[in-house]
Amino acid sequence: MLQPKKTKYRRQQKGRMKGNSYRGHEIAFGSFALKTLENAWITGRQIEAARQALTRFMKREGQIWIRIFPDKPVTKKPAEVRMGKGKGAPEYFVAPITPGRIIFEAEGVPLEVAKEAMRLAAQKLPVATKFVVRRDYVEDNS
């Protein structure tokens, strides 16, 4: 599961997400990609589940890239604890993403295989997504 090796501060404020993703919204490495259409906090577990679905369908052929990283700690108070007494303990890490962000990229498999693999991966994520192909992609040149 993806998470930072060390963090400068243990807890972070929530922050706000607005607008589209003007960074990381274009395919940089592979030929196919999964792009988000909503904003959300994607947890490390969700990324790992989606990655497994992707690689299993691709039968470990080709190559994949994960373009997001969960570096934001989310805290949680224990059950049955009264309010107050400070912020809770860090529980897991999330990657805040806004519409347009590329989540996964793939290369080295046919288009139909990549499309189905990305569909299966998208089912593990809490956002609406779309499958995108590199602008200069041609089937025999992949």
Binding site: N20, Y22, L37, G100, R101, V132, R135, D136, V138
Partner: protein, 193 residues
Amino acid sequence: MKAISMSGSLRENVGKKAARQSRREGLVPSVLYGGKDQIHFCLDEKSLKKVIYTPDVYLINFDIAGTKKQAVIQDLQVHPTTDKVLHIDFLEITPGKPVIMNLPIRLEGVALGVLAGGKLVKKFRTLKVKGLVENMPEEIKVNVTKLEIGGTVKVSSLTSDTLQFLDRPTGIVATVKSTRAAATAEEAVPGKK
């Protein structure tokens, strides 16, 4: 290098409001620079598809309100979610002035390593080159026939009289990777460790 002709109309107003209006009308706001003056103009979205959704690089002959110009695509902005083209930068071609372009790579021949069961992998899709437009080929042809398993073609091994390769010389353009089938076949050969 492939060439294509296009006509555009000058933008009367530059700015967000006018740009949005032209996008609604199916036009793409564009700019042409690199020559004496910069020209702001609009292009038809449909006519652009041929030069954008392709691995080929085109030399574009523009006719902008009666003015003839030659240019190449320099930069492209797309919408994050809809992937619609928002704006295009064109670099004007001045005779005798070299330009930097990304040319597609084409691997030629069947590598020896592939015949032995390896897999040919292309690491670069395009190569950044500098040269005069009249000397620019459509694509950079790389001969891979002599490549064995584990062999590589590096940027430094590519030569051209008219072009200068700007990617790092140690960058690997193509390689033949060993596959499981090739590895097992090698082990099965008696006398080989």
